[in-house]
């Protein structure tokens, strides 16, 4: 027996080390649609940031003398019934869409992760109270709940973010609670308690990073959904109201002149479609790239 101990062959792993980051990027960009999605989103972000440089006209300034013009070299997509440049409004609309999208998702994801982590890790009464509250919120269709909240809070970008955030928080909470419940049962969590760590420390340092991965994927898909929901609210006239530049309200305002100037509605509608599609594609790609079953492959 002691001979075995003396020999003590080194158990080094000889597997080649693939950089996690490289592997992640490789899987992510395997599909062409994901590349397309990332490209669209990059353009969107750039447009939103450099909106004042890209738009040649003030998107809020009426110019009744040039209302309802067809596309021309001056106005690439024409003007609307108040003479505002449609292209410029589209560019500023990208800002609104991204503000609402990222604002809502950040608000809902942070709140949902905290609530889900607490519910899953502490269990018992905490779990019962948080999860029943979430179930109640989930009983309403998201858009109806958001409608109700905006109606109470009033229109405006901030209120839209709060309303959509509250309406989408249950999704994050339930997902986080579920993964926390499964991560909590791992032996390394028991081992952590066995070395005398406090619950809070265990929860934040050990459970959170292991449970949060699915939320990252949910965030990307929710970005698309939230932008769509904001467009719906604005389309219904209670989200972001004119003269604020939002794609939903633009599409709605262009409705009256659909017969003669279809671009007024179609341009913003196409923008919404393109962006939501791009977010969904990137979300799918991320899901594949973050799949632990594929870890270490390639």
């Amino acid at each position: 027996m002691s001979e075995v101990f003396v020999m003590d062959a080194p158990e080094t792993v000889a597997a080649p080390r693939v950089s996690e980051w490289k592997r992640f990027l490789k899987i992510l960009f395997q599909r062409k649609l994901v590349v397309f999605g990332v490209f669209v989103l990059l353009c969107l972000v750039l447009v939103a940031i450099f909106a004042p440089l890209i738009a040649q006209y003030d998107p809020y300034k009426n110019d009744m003398a040039h209302s309802l013009q067809s596309p021309s070299s001056q106005h690439w997509l024409g003007t609307d019934n108040l003479g505002r440049d449609v292209f410029s409004r589209l560019v500023y609309g990208a800002r609104t869409a991204l503000e609402v999208g990222f604002g809502t998702v950040a608000f809902a994801a942070i709140l949902g992760v905290i609530l889900g982590l607490l519910a899953g890790f502490l269990g018992g009464w905490t779990n019962a109270i948080i999860m029943r509250a979430m179930d109640t919120l989930m009983a309403f269709p998201m858009i109806v709940l958001a409608l109700l909240l905006v109606a109470v809070l009033g229109a405006g970008i901030q209120n839209v973010i709060i309303a959509l955030g509250v309406a989408t928080v249950p999704g994050y909470t339930r997902l986080m609670c579920g993964t926390t419940l499964s991560v909590r049962e791992n032996e390394y969590i028991l081992a952590q308690r066995a070395i005398g760590a406090k619950s809070l420390r265990t929860m934040v340092r050990h459970v959170l990073p292991n449970a949060i991965q699915p939320v990252i994927v949910l965030v990307t898909t929710m970005l698309g959904n939230v932008i769509l929901a904001e467009a719906s609210l604005s389309f219904l006239g209670i989200g972001i109201k004119p003269p604020g530049a939002a794609w939903g309200s633009m599409a709605s305002a262009g409705f009256r002149d659909l017969g003669t100037h279809p671009l007024l509605s179609f341009a913003p509608a196409l923008a919404i479609m393109l962006v939501v599609f791009a977010f969904n594609m990137v979300g799918d790609g991320l899901r594949d790239a973050l799949d632990p079953k594929l870890r270490g492959k390639l």
Binding site: M1, S2, V4, F5, D8, P10, E11, T12, V13, R17, G123, G124, N186, E187, Y188, L190, A191, Q192, R193, A194, I195, G196, A197, K198, S199, R205, H206, P209, N210, R295, G296
Partner: protein, 341 residues
Amino acid sequence: MSDQTTCGVPAGEEMLRVKDLETQFRVDEGVVRAVNGVSYSLREREIIGIVGESGCGKSVSQLSIMQLLQRPGKIVGGEVWFEGQNLLEYGPKSAEMRAIRGGKISMIFQEPMTSLNPVLTIGRQLTESLELHLGMNKKEARARATQLLDLVGIPSPASRLDDYPHQFSGGMRQRVMIAIGVACQPKMVIADEPTTALDCTTQAQLLELMLSTIDACKGSLVLVTHNLGVVARYSQRIYIMYAGKIVEQGLCRDIFYRPRHPYTVGLLKSVPRLDEVRGHRLVPIVGTPPNLIDLPPTCAFYPRCSERTERCLTEPWPDLTAADGEGHLVRCYNPAERTGE
């Protein structure tokens, strides 16, 4: 190997005394009496083995001592005296209990694959208890962690501190677990099936390694296992558990050469031995372990017992009574008389 790993007479003062420990799990079907009045003791620098089948309560009894039970598990009775204090007087989340866990008593778990957090580096997991219990700063803890990895035989320890668990093999992870276990020089280490998940050659290496590192920090060891070979080689005293009770206890040589309880006899007959006559068949213990819900007041081993008598069914499970040999106790009305094989 040094003397302390052979079946010698234990030395040193008593440091842990568990008295009538009772742990239950309340589930929908009833009350699971996982630990049902277990008493044992551990002396300084001693190695004891706790042996039993899956589900006999051996792991739960150890988790109870550390107060690491998850709902719906609950300690309903007994005392755990450790260094003059009854640990059960402290709440599971109390500062006193946290100081003991990892600082004075540490645990090494069964599954090296799942006992390390996959998203943190080995270094961060090693330094955690050092910072927690010894108040080291990051630099000191890192230096000590390097030492520890070196101690458990991991090559180029300083650079491997920044690796993640998935870059380590099973055996190496268990080495890391041992390093974490002895990091704060605990008085006592509880190893719960420490080698079950490893292959045989690695098992032997790691057991030797574990014993030498625990010996180096002058600690005691509770070896919880179903592997009789492991306890035979390393422990000084052995406790045999069945259905939440200790059915036989004694010095290693008494248990192996003069087993008295029919269950112990059955266990020994069911493992292959190198000194056995060729062609000798292994004899399994018939039946399955009892359901721990609704345990009868009589002997729980009765349905599987080869030595059962009328008395076993009519009278309650007997107390541990002295058998021949120092501290050799057995819980049976009709203990085997055979001496040795």
